[in-house]
Symmetry: C2
Subunit: 196 residues, 2 copies
């Protein structure tokens, strides 16, 4: 009754965003229309532009507007090390450490049989091709330390080892700055086993 077609359509469209329910969507629509119509227009254009322009890098699968992304084209990076991550956000976290200077392969997902995500969906075959280019010497598996991330790392690791590649995994251990008393037991057990 009191809502309008355009408003209702906006609320429904906002609900397509992950983590946004009916109340959040209504609050977002209210905020944009009442306080930030310019923001609504900016967001509309950014969405349309990104949906048209953003594609996947043909070498590493991350989002890019070119055929090959800037990272893959950077001659200053160590092409002998290839780091496998689940998402561009994970890649971004690694980049911010400044501790890795090799190249990436972004799976754009993780193995999740329950959700129907199999090896083909995350491009395992493509990763094997990429890693066997004769330049890559070590593949670092940096998938998340969740059940699905571990499974993904295991499956990918087996496929790559079968091709004779050196495969490593990010170390598990106690997070920097944490007190042992508050660290979960599985993490402490791993840190103990991998002590150095």
């Amino acid at each position: 009754m009191h809502t309008t077609d355009a408003l209702e359509a906006l609320i429904q469209a906002l609900r397509r965003l992950p983590g946004v329910g009916a109340k959040s969507a209504a609050r977002m629509a209210f905020h944009l229309l009442q306080h930030d119509r310019g923001g609504a227009q900016v967001l509309a254009q950014a969405l349309a532009h990104a949906a048209e322009q953003v594609r996947h890098c043909t070498r590493c699968h991350t989002f890019t507007q070119a055929e090959v992304c800037d990272t893959c084209l950077d001659p200053g990076r160590d092409a002998a090390r290839l780091c496998v991550v689940e998402t561009p956000a994970d890649q971004s976290a690694l980049e911010r450490t400044g501790a890795f200077h090799g190249l990436y392969f972004v799976l754009m997902g993780r193995l999740s049989p329950l959700d129907g995500v199999g090896p083909k969906d995350i491009g395992v075959q493509k990763l094997v091709q990429r890693a066997t280019d004769g330049v890559v010497q070590e593949v670092i598996l940096a998938t998340n330390f969740t059940a699905e991330g571990e499974t993904t790392a295991h499956v990918i690791g087996e496929a790559l080892k079968a091709r004779g590649l050196v495969v490593t995994r990010l170390a598990r251990g106690v997070p920097v700055g944490s007190e042992l008393e508050y660290v979960d037991l599985g993490t402490i057990a791993h840190a103990l086993a991998d002590r150095r």
Copy 2:
């Protein structure tokens, strides 16, 4: 480096939504580009359309695409009762109860001196004009029971009573279905004072 201009622009634009920080914005952008490009286009169009089309009802201030909203135009509603709410979402909550058949005035905000929101911003003068049309007999204050909502109700109530209008407030009391043990003391005290 690895992000693209269009992707970065989308993430920045998504951060204009209330309650969306850098990580949520990146997750939303990733989801739309990886799994729901159609959703991105739908949302882009809904935003642009709503930002252009949605305006305020000249009688009650709520969002509408016409000059006067459907509720205000409905001849079946009791024009002698006017309910004052903060937002269209609050109006919607009251409508869903099915217990109110009068008309509304939507403040589109609340008094909040610290945020620079004064009586002019929520249209107190317009509300007084609206309520003194000779038809309205009772104004029901249904602003939120927060500090700001109570202040708003007080200021509006004083302005309306000065014009000789009957002003009421939603009853405070124990929520339906709750156990006294878990209800806050202020609520119990109010429920005791207003016992019937």
